[in-house]
Amino acid sequence: MSQITVRDALRDAMQEEMLKDDKVFVMGEEVGQYQGAYKVTQGLLERFGAERVVDTPITEHGFAGLAIGAAFLGLRPIVEFMTFNFSMQAIDQIINSAAKTHYMSGGQIECPIVFRGPNGAASRVAAQHSQNFAACYSHIPGLKVVAPYSAEDHKGLLITAIRDNNPIIFLENEILYGHSFEIPDIVEPIPFGQAKKLVEGDDVTIVAFSLQVKLALDATINLQDTGINCEVIDLRTIKPLDIETILDSVRKTNRLVIIEEGWFFAGVGASIASMVMSRAFDYLDAPIEIISAKDVPLPYAVNLEKLALPTIEDVISAVQRVCYI
């Protein structure tokens, strides 16, 4: 075991896969000479050269479409969006070309591509640079959506994403890049669709993904002092969703709190709540609580920004509500 940042774990995953398979290459803005806008691709250019670490102009729709074409021919592109906010420029290619062509071609065309980059709110960058697209991408058949928390999961899931023959939306988080975690010396690929139970508890199930897992863990420690034992489930992949692990937990705790950084309406939490209601209604002792961003564009001012995003206080009070405390 050793300590590693999420940033380095991501780089190591790409490096290992690029060493194994010549068809894997990285493309995006500032991924090469600049070493990555957030330094995730640090050192890759020196190691693999400009043919495989391809700096692009600021042209998201163009290079996303180009990479999809390259994937149709059998290459395995890793496309870095400087942030997923800019993937909106490329949304037509991601939805209409990457996600659907396998189906529309009757299974002939495969699109083995990874779109990765930071997603969600960073800090004080305001509305256009602070959106969480987990729900948006999860809505589309044909895409798989991954949003890990720990360094090991970032590495293991990115390896799986690169080897997968489908288009993968790999959602990272800028704040998490600098977080350090324990990591084993060898990280095996982690299958999609398997949530991870991080804390065992009997009283309330808290489901979260990406940075919000930290909120769940912090709230759990806090709540222990008041005698409430939370079970924390890290989704890791949103699509495919490991609903069984959530259901098993809810059948034990009878209470569910879901945290997501995105907006409430038509969100990931709403979908999970619907599935739990239809499959474990009789096990619920309280209405499901969803803690999400407020339904506003993210403001710049520090006090307003804090009000707009889920906080530990929100989580604690939601847990208390489902426990009727």
Binding site: H61, L66, N96, S105, G107
Partner: protein, 326 residues
Amino acid sequence: MIFSGKYKLNNSQYLESYNKMLLLRRFEEKCGQLYGMGLIGGFCHLYIGQEAIISGIDLIKQAGDSTITSYRDHAHIILAGTEMKYVLAELMGKETGCSKGKGGSMHMFDVKNKFYGGHGIVGAQVPIGTGIAFAEKYQNTNNLCFTFLGDGAVNQGQVYEAFNLAALWRLPVIYIIENNQYSMGTSLARSTFMTELYKKGESFGIPGFKVDGMSLESVYDQGRQAVEFVRNGGGPIILEMSTYRYRGHSMSDPAKYRTKDEVENYKSQDPLVQVKEMILANKYANEEELKKIEKNVKDSIDEAVEFSTNSLVPNEKELYTNIYVE
């Protein structure tokens, strides 16, 4: 770099092309008929009038080259090598269709023949075709990607993002603008301020040439020079092929935005008639032999209709297959 009259068609190329063009013409006419009978649904865009373009390019294309186009794609996939019956079965939504009945008219694919669609979003095929060329260069092949777009697509932003990348990385791609004068019902002059479409690559450093798309000879001659340029590492090139579609944009379009005189004027330059007259004038074949070609074409279309009619609709289980690669 490209001038007219460098390459001439020979006797057998004329006959081969006449056969293909006639097949495409009759196939599309049959599609129109089947659409009218309710056997083809949805959107259906016919290629009638534009046949010289894909037929001329087909004489130049080499094994290993890719083709990608928009939704007016029946002719492109057939000449890419897909048997007509699989194309017609796709149009009729049958399980034997080239996309298993899941794509329809606008979303035809045949990977085996390096035909990469069939794209329903105007202009989306341009970055993808550029990416296919990127992959060819990445793998050090000598293959090209023929990327077709219409005059409507030249007002889409992603086309220019792709132009820039193709020029920047010297990618082996030929952009063929099939300028049939109308983007749906909007004439070129009403949609594009600068109507010389072959110049649309100038600000990216991509050379462009205007070609008479009603003339098989011009398409072949200038197309072949363009291919040589790209295959020799010259980077991307644009060919604007002026052409005309005789039918409306799609089956639901009576084309009231243009005059009868205009349509008749283009029909008087009909590419198929031109080729036929060349063949007869030069005695490459006589009327009798051409009639035989016509009969063979008719028979093969009848066969495709029979095949498609007798094919089954997809099994309901197919609803849930091919969403993901297993």
